[in-house]
Symmetry: C2
Subunit: 323 residues, 2 copies
């Protein structure tokens, strides 16, 4: 496959647009900034990057479905309810005999301190329901999270195989973080073996540094391409992004004007990009829509904000093109 910046992607006719697979979890976030462990009040939030993307894309106006595992408990019910409220298909969410995964985040001016409580999420098992869901979708998306542990790792491997056979676009967020991996395992080496098998990756500079060590932007892009990715979107925070399809490399500027909270900005980018390619925009236009949705999100607090439809985003940020 080759992603031409000035062409749109031709999708097969499928009922569902975006299938996101992986972490669906509760973010438990301290009410106050806390440098000394004295924060006693926490607020519960819907979380998990793929689940955020599913909600965003749905709000932008394309279909999405979430594949994940939650516990048979109140937090699992809360997460499923949140997805159902925006009419996202939850038939591929398994309820398992482990606690719904949670990330406890104590806000800090110096460094935020997450504590990972992983239960249900990595117990996602492959099933024939998943085969059906993949066959019915145009794009499949996942991050490093489910790859960090068995059995969800094997589930993702199987999903990639089935997605490839059924000609989906396979997108991967290489957000490798050592804290999620078993001690002693070479996470970066494993992640590299996965990059070979996917089409689109969107690493941040930090992600790239964790995988390859400190290097130049050009070398990072080259390394992802050499591993086998077809389109590499290297995001640079306020400096925009460098995107390469192996033949052509394009620099994009951020569209952000007002930055209130960066949480979920990456998920918003993915969401705008996905909505764009699904709606028939060219790769270049879809990338601009990614920046536009990200810019919109940055104005508001929270990982998932009330996004308008894609057409409105297009107007606000004066994005050209479209089918």
């Amino acid at each position: 496959m080759m992603f031409n910046f000035d062409k749109n992607i031709e999708f097969l006719n499928r009922n569902n647009d975006i299938l996101t697979i992986g972490e669906l979890l509760v973010d438990m976030i301290s009410a106050d900034y806390d440098e000394n462990f004295d924060s006693n009040t926490y607020h519960r939030f819907f979380g998990g990057s793929p689940a955020n993307i599913a909600i965003n894309t749905k709000r932008l106006g394309v279909n999405s479905s979430v594949v994940s595992a939650v516990g048979k408990d109140g937090l699992g019910k809360f997460l499923i309810n949140q997805l159902e409220e925006v009419q996202i298909d939850t038939t591929c969410i398994e309820e398992v005999d482990y606690a719904t995964s949670m990330v406890l985040i104590t806000k800090s001016k110096s460094s935020p301190k997450p504590i990972f409580y992983r239960g249900a999420d990595y117990h996602l098992e492959y099933s024939s329901k998943l085969t059906e869901a993949i066959k019915n979708s145009k794009v499949v998306h996942f991050s490093c999270w489910p790859l960090s542990k068995a059995p969800s790792r094997q589930t993702i491997e199987k999903c990639i195989e089935v997605a490839r056979a059924n000609k989906l676009i396979i997108c991967f967020d290489p957000n490798y973080h050592p804290m999620l991996w078993e001690k002693g395992e070479d996470g970066p080496e494993y992640i590299k073996s996965i990059i070979k098998k996917v089409d689109i990756v969107k690493p941040s500079e930090d992600d790239a540094a964790r995988l390859f060590g400190k290097d130049s932007h050009e070398n990072y892009i080259e390394k992802f391409l050499t591993l086998g990715a077809q389109l590499v979107i290297l995001t640079l925070g306020e400096d925009g992004a460098i995107v390469s399809n192996g033949k052509e490399t394009v620099k994009f500027e951020t569209l952000a004007t007002e930055v209130n909270d960066t949480t979920g900005a990456g998920d918003a980018f993915w969401s705008g990009f996905y909505a764009g390619v699904i709606e028939g925009y060219t790769i270049k236009e879809a990338l601009q829509l990614g920046f536009a949705v990200s810019a919109y999100k940055l104005k508001y607090t929270g990982a998932v904000v009330e996004l308008p439809r894609l057409e409105r985003i297009k107007e606000i940020y004066s994005i050209e093109g479209g089918s």
Copy 2:
């Protein structure tokens, strides 16, 4: 060993009075009652039954020390800080590479729904520091919690062995709950094998029913005695307790007049009993002190309340005797 109701326990000369081993964790409790998973605010509390007993006994005026494992994270720091604030010895608290254990409790009028996030607590390993701590103590206390998983199970087994060799009084809370155990394992059978090796047990009626099935109070007591316990304190909530040393069985009435919150009432009972036996009261008097401290705690909200010294409790509840 034989516990005579009208005699005190002769302890060897040791620096520390009560050594509690096991769960030290965060209780994350919903701010509101919640029947429909919509509670978004949670408050963090110090928790874990043995740790509560350590704080209580310290406040009553005897020495205590806690053996446990917490994570190298903010919640672990919070728990250690709380113990240090009341001058409890924390040198036997290990900081391990797992998240500090947490129990998330969503309050409910129908049934409270705990979700267990176990990380650090069951990774408690035996060490020579622990041998020293046991050799320096008069009483050792633990509950079913650390027995439910390896490696803390083996740590407790070793503690029992060393405590026996060093002539400590070994006290066990047989609060068996299937949710904490691995599926397929016969928890009750294992707990029974532990009861053989301890001196004092304090089951509630529910604990006894979970271990032996529904039966009469007399049969419950007989079963604990037959297994090898030397003193069985069968607590019956507002109906007090039945206590037997195998030769004599005595009925005790509760001293509670005002019940505001039952959380931690059992820990308060243990605490009053321990403070009593350490201070040289007879078994019967110590049991009454247990009821007195429990009654005091019941008036206030929270698992651990600001207890006065034992002498004051004795006055308030007109308990006779003492050394």
